[in-house]
């Protein structure tokens, strides 16, 4: 059971990969489907490994990530 929850506002994601670069657990990747603007938005591969550190959200220039934990 995942202890953390990540919510992405994928329509506003520009696929810059700063969250992917700085995620300490390397569990973020870009999706293979684009959003309506043509960007490949971020998605999480294995939420069970997420430690809810918030680094992805802090580094996201477009503030599209909400991080929650139990």
């Amino acid at each position: 059971m995942a202890k953390a929850k990540l919510t992405f506002d994928t329509e506003k994601c520009k696929g810059c990969e700063l969250c992917v670069t700085f995620c300490p657990k390397k569990i973020l990747v870009l999706d293979s489907e684009t959003n309506s603007k043509g960007y490949y938005p971020v998605k999480v591969t294995n939420i069970d490994e997420c430690i809810a550190c918030g680094t992805c959200a802090i580094m996201c220039p477009d503030s599209i990530i909400t991080v929650e934990k139990e």
């Binding site: 520009k14 918030g54 996201c60 477009d62 503030s63 909400t66 929650e68």
Partner: protein, 245 residues
């Protein structure tokens, strides 16, 4: 579940107009979060510059002006003097503050205006197409310096934080960067301290934030962070230049 991080209420839902990976967005968040955390959000008035951040009145949900090019400190001065109970900040890039607006910022600091300036230095003119700025590094290529900036022709880049720190009316001056999560946290603290300088009525405060321009530098967002670390930080050293009691 407990919220670890969510978007600040001081930012609107409008999608940012900045390029993918531009660190303007990170700096916007730090300003917004500090406005809320310091309890000045409901009386905050921001002044946007000309340049990439000229549209930041769409992104901050507090009251905002958009000043004429470089004149943000002058507009902020008027607002603060007429409404001293307002919290007044300017948000300016290097093409705005370090070139056409140098006189305004120097004299606002000299007069000790009780305003706060967030100065975003990305060593280039972003919005207009990557022209050379006063802050462009020697050897750095720009659309108006295709062989790189020549020291003989253009001189060395201007160090704003060091210059403002020599002015007595400036009470808090610090240079920070947003190239790593740790530095982003330090940048947030510096902006908080600059805002406290105004709240406590001490005088002028400026935070210079080293920022990236992946589009005009010609790097990926992550590559631009690396370029900033290897090239900008050695010339623009991070640290505090002036603090108040």
């Amino acid at each position: 579940m407990a919220v670890v991080y969510k978007k600040s209420i001081a930012l609107t839902d409008t999608p940012l107009s900045f390029c993918p990976g531009c660190t303007h967005g990170i700096i916007h968040k730090l300003v917004a979060e500090n406005l809320v955390e310091l309890g000045v959000y409901d009386r905050a008035v921001g002044v946007a510059p000309v340049g990439c951040a000229a549209l930041s009145d769409h992104f901050f949900s507090c009251d905002m002006y958009v000043a004429a090019h470089g004149r943000a400190p002058a507009v902020a001065t008027g607002q603060k003097r007429v409404h001293p109970d307002n919290f007044v900040f300017t948000y300016q890039g290097d093409g705005d503050l370090a070139s056409i607006g140098t006189a305004e910022v120097v004299h606002a600091a000299h007069r000790g205006e009780k305003i706060s300036t967030v100065f975003v230095n990305n060593a280039i003119y972003g919005m207009t197409g990557g022209q050379m700025a006063p802050t462009t590094l020697v050897g750095q290529k720009a659309s108006t310096a295709p062989y790189g900036r020549s020291e003989e022709h253009c001189g060395k880049p201007i160090r704003i934080a060091e210059m403002i720190a020599t002015i007595e009316g400036a009470k808090f001056v610090e240079r920070v960067s947003v190239d790593t999560p740790a530095n982003v946290r330090k940048a947030k603290k510096a902006i908080r301290r600059a805002f406290e300088c105004q709240i406590q009525g001490k005088g002028y405060a400026l935070v210079e934030v080293l920022s990236t321009c992946p589009t005009n530098w010609g790097f990926t967002p992550a590559g631009a962070m690396k370029w900033l670390q290897e090239n900008m930080i050695p010339y623009y050293p991070l640290g505090n230049f002036k603090d108040f009691e």
